[in-house]
Amino acid sequence: MMQLPTPQGKRLNIKLAALCLLLLVAFFLDIALGPVRIPLRSICRIILSLPGEDSTWQYIVMQIRIPKTFTAVIAGCGLSVSGLQMQTLFRNPLAEPSVLGVTAGASLGVAAVMLAGGSITTLYTIRELGLSGSWLITIAGCTGAAGVMLLVILISKAVRDNIMMLIIGVMVGTVTLSIISIWQYFSDPELIKDYLMWTFGSLGGVTGAQLYILGLATLVGLVISFLSSKMLDALLLGENYARSMGVTTQRARVIIICSTSLLAGSITAFCGPIGFIGIAVPQMARSVFATSNHRVLIPACCLIGTTLMLLCDVIGQLPGSQAALPINIVTALVGAPTVIWMILRKNNLSIFG
């Protein structure tokens, strides 16, 4: 459909090409800008691994900026596609990856490790067990997300209606968050501060092997979601229609929940909760491409989500200053006005494009 030489297809190709260009610009901006001023020439030479550049600059570009930029790309793709899937599955433009409680599950896992100091075990004893460092938090986040995901899938098998599923997902999320609140209530202020830091979200803490694992998990999630785009198209027209087209809605639901959980759960475990991208980007994709075809929307979400995440990261770095704003704050600050502007411009907010 994308390759058809119709005027529509041509316009689509132009739009996609423009987005790709924008994405490339954002990608290089994110690598080029930061609190330490490095000339563009040096950055290019460092990326091409030409010799003779300052070793501090090399470290900053290769060890700090490039992993952060790739994390932004991965998180941008994953969160926006999982948001799109949720909005289609529930036929609700306000749905987002967190409605199933998966992000809350990841938070619960992290809170269990960080806040457990006051009740079950201390960071000291965790260290004695030989589990240390950032892996511990990540594994805890993944376990929490997977636990809630299993629970939601089990429930989804028993439930017939998607709206009921939505309500149950929100309820599971609420229960999970209140467990975290109980934990926070009984914890020391310093531990709560560590946990709060995590909830601000961060793209800068994923490096080395973690980046590969996050990349792989996201890739698997994206492939599943692209393969199920026909199912998503059918679901958008209603469950009865989907059934008439030969789509088993229950199986479709399980597949979509699996891929969403994989995407949102792993990104939340590694980067902390990052809001808004999941809601805002699918709206933008539909509005820009004026279609409800998921074979267009999924790549469009990837492009827009990545670009937006990269730009948010650039803004969050506050070029010229030494401090940085947490990514979760910037995405909301940038995302909300963008969505409002789009709605006002089109005076329409629909999941049908």
Binding site: G34, P35, V36, S55, T56, Y59, I60, Q63, I64, R65, K68, G118, T122, L123, Y124, T125, R127, S132, G133, S134, W135, Y185, F186, S187, D188, P189, D194, M197, W198, S202, L203, G204, G205, T207, G208, G272, Q317, Q322, A323, A324, P326
Partner: protein, 386 residues
């Protein structure tokens, strides 16, 4: 060299004399009204409180800083058996000398141990962060109770214990409102803000407030003055250093690095120990929230890495983030953490007795940064990570 070695022994003797006295488990002294009624103490380094002496009572003002707002809280420390003086309607009245009290912070335990009144601690916010052997023995014997931290104070237990005072910590989570029920029940509450003091001696000087509560001005003057003398001579010693090796502090978390600001407690220590500190000129007594990238150029080249956080080995550091292995301090092995005196329950004495032994902390830091100035000194609170 011989001269500096000789100097070192004098210093060391001075530095440890206080500590040894403090750790002797003196039997509970009988509390009498006449411990040191006429001796007064003056506050020279701390900015958070004042003490004024009057006949049979002492007037204490504690500046309670909550964000940008500063409240002055007034306390009347009235000698037991004497009437409460008029003219201070807003003051909380504390009958002194107090014979029992509740400590909310490990710093208070360190101070009580320093004043040899650790046996008067009848309750603690949490048992988790305790080192003093006497206090731990009392916990084991069931004489000291756990009363809960800010969020969940066990009010009923506290009221039934009739403590002479609750010494809380001033922080945004512990506003006086949380202690309202206890104050209404007639239990005096002081919210200490020693951790907001920006100088090592200023923080340690809060021990004088506790001394005033138990009429031990005589003892505190002697011990505090000797602490100040050894601290000052160590500062003198460190000032002879020709080089100022650069120091980084703390551990970044998820891309943010909280760096002590130029007027902070840690920055003062580094300056006094003859270290170089890139953020020494920044304003503020708290910490600066910096981007990892903004700190990286300094971290890559700094000679020493101190107070690293919840890590115990080089492996722990690379497990947090493999990128830290590129730091110069990591490659040369100049990593020192302040957790040498961490006990079997994971409580670090640095935060307890360390608060009232700034001269030992300084000696440790000088021996790390300038080993030639204090040859033969064995670190008390710091250990090199392997």
């Amino acid at each position: 060299m011989t001269k500096s070695r000789f100097f070192y022994y004098i210093l060391l003797a001075a530095a440890f004399s206080c500590k040894e006295k403090a750790s002797q488990n003196t039997p509970p002294s009988t509390v009498s009204n006449n411990d040191s009624p006429r001796v007064t103490t003056t506050i020279r380094y701390a900015h958070g409180f004042t003490i004024d002496y009057h006949d049979n009572y002492k007037l204490v003002h504690v500046l309670d800083r909550q964000g940008d707002r500063t409240d002055t809280l007034e306390y009347l420390l009235v000698q037991k058996g004497h009437p409460t003086p008029a003219g201070h309607p807003n003051a909380q009245v504390i009958p002194i000398p107090i014979s029992s009290f509740i400590a909310m912070s490990s710093m208070h335990v360190g101070m009580a141990d320093f004043l040899e009144i650790a046996d008067r601690i009848t309750g603690l916010g949490s048992f988790q962060y305790i080192n003093a052997p006497l206090v731990r023995a009392n916990i084991a014997a069931g004489k000291t109770k756990q009363v809960g931290l800010d969020g969940n104070l066990n009010n009923e237990l506290l009221i039934s214990m009739h403590p002479g005072l609750i010494m809380g910590m001033s922080n945004p989570q512990a506003t006086t409102a949380k202690y309202k029920i206890l104050m209404d029940a007639g239990i005096p509450v002081i919210l200490n803000a020693e951790w907001l003091e920006s100088t090592p001696l200023g923080r340690a000087e809060w021990v004088k407030l506790m001394a005033a509560l138990v009429n031990k001005e005589d003892l505190v003057n002697k011990k505090f003055d000797s602490m100040v003398r050894s601290y000052d001579s160590l500062v003198q010693l460190a000032s002879q250093a020709k080089e100022h090796p650069h120091v980084i502090i703390g551990l970044p978390f998820k891309g943010s690095w909280f760096i002590p600001a130029g007027d902070s407690y840690m920055a003062h220590f580094i300056r006094d120990a003859g270290g170089g500190y890139k953020w020494g000129d920044t304003k503020g007594v708290g910490s600066l929230a910096l981007n990892f990238e903004a700190v990286a150029p300094e971290a890559l080249t700094a000679d020493f890495w101190l107070n690293i956080g919840y890590v115990d080995s080089k492996q722990d550091i690379t497990a947090k983030d493999p990128r830290f292995a590129s730091f110069k301090s990591f490659r040369t092995g100049q990593l020192y953490n302040n957790n040498k005196k961490t006990n079997d329950i994971g409580s670090n004495d640095y935060w307890e007795s360390g608060a009232v032994n700034p001269q030992i902390l300084l000696a440790d830091m000088i021996s790390i940064l300038h080993p030639e100035l204090l040859p033969g000194h064995t670190s008390v609170y710091y250990k090199q990570l392997q």
